[in-house]
């Protein structure tokens, strides 16, 4: 099988990406959707005084959602998401703006697969959640 990767996709191409500034309402809805009652996400006195965090902790898997969205909005319905992986390396807190983005890392015209290098960066530009994805363009 040969792939059908559009010619305009080149190694080094940057994904449009998106910045997120989750507030308490967003974090509440996310943890409610999960049914996750972990106090560090909603109980500010507990998060700061007991756990010693500077604020309410943004849930780690939510960063995975933003990476998935970043890929998804770039491929639209042109390709299938085959693999997504990420690793939460550093915590983030309510009030921060976090940017999801990525770049085309490799193109395999034989399989139609494109590998992407992904990241969530904080306002200091540090990568707090690196990730990777593979998408497949089928004929």
């Amino acid at each position: 099988m040969s792939g059908a990767i559009p010619a305009e996709i080149q190694v080094g191409e940057e994904l449009p990406g998106r910045a997120h500034t989750p507030d308490n309402v967003a974090l509440f809805m996310y943890n409610a959707a999960l049914w996750n009652p972990h106090r560090i996400h909603f109980d500010l006195p507990y998060a700061t005084e007991v756990e010693g965090y500077p604020g309410l902790v943004i849930a780690g898997p939510l960063m995975g959602d933003w990476l998935g969205e970043c890929v998804d909005e770039w491929i639209t319905d042109r390709a299938m998401l085959v693999m997504l992986e990420y690793s939460n390396r550093q915590a983030a807190f309510i009030g921060e703006t976090l940017s999801a983005g990525g770049v085309v890392e490799a193109i395999d015209t034989g399989t139609g697969e494109v590998s992407l290098d992904l990241y969530i960066k904080n306002e200091a530009g540090e990568v707090i959640t690196p990730g990777k994805a593979i998408v497949r363009f089928d004929e």
């Binding site: 997120h20 989750p22 967003a26 809805m29 996310y30 409610a32 959707a33 999960l34 049914w35 996750n36 009652p37 972990h38 106090r39 560090i40 507990y46 007991v50 756990e51 780690g60 898997p61 939510l62 995975g64 959602d65 933003w66 998935g68 969205e69 890929v71 998804d72 909005e73 299938m80 998401l81 085959v82 693999m83 997504l84 992986e85 990420y86 690793s87 939460n88 390396r89």
Partner: protein
Amino acid sequence: MSGLLSPELLANIGKTELPRTEVVTRRDIRKYAIATDQRQRKYLDGDEAPPLFHVALFWDVVERDELTPDGVSIDKLLPKFPLERAMAGGLNIRYHDKIRAGDTLIGTRTLTDIYEKEGRSGPLIFYEVVLEVVRDDATAVITQTTTRILR
């Protein structure tokens, strides 16, 4: 290697939970799509699930007395480890098919590996849990490997 992992502990590799069956509703997809800041209509309307929806669908639902005071549920698939402070975790998700409203999905978790590595400030324990998600007609949907590190 500091020998933290006893044969008894390693004997837990391969342990599997009872499969869990969950029905995907449009309402749950819509809630998840809004909560995760999605912009595509297929997600916001609940036709199709965003890529990490299964994380919510198979999140453990436990009774109140099974929660620790900080609101965390104890993962019964895991043995008691000699290191307990959790560090970064990683997820690798392989997609075989999309999830849509009306699907009945069966999720099975297996503890697939436990190993030890020497970190910069002492020994680390790694473990891996694989979640296999299939549709009720046995079609493969998702294979997810979670790796966690304890120090």
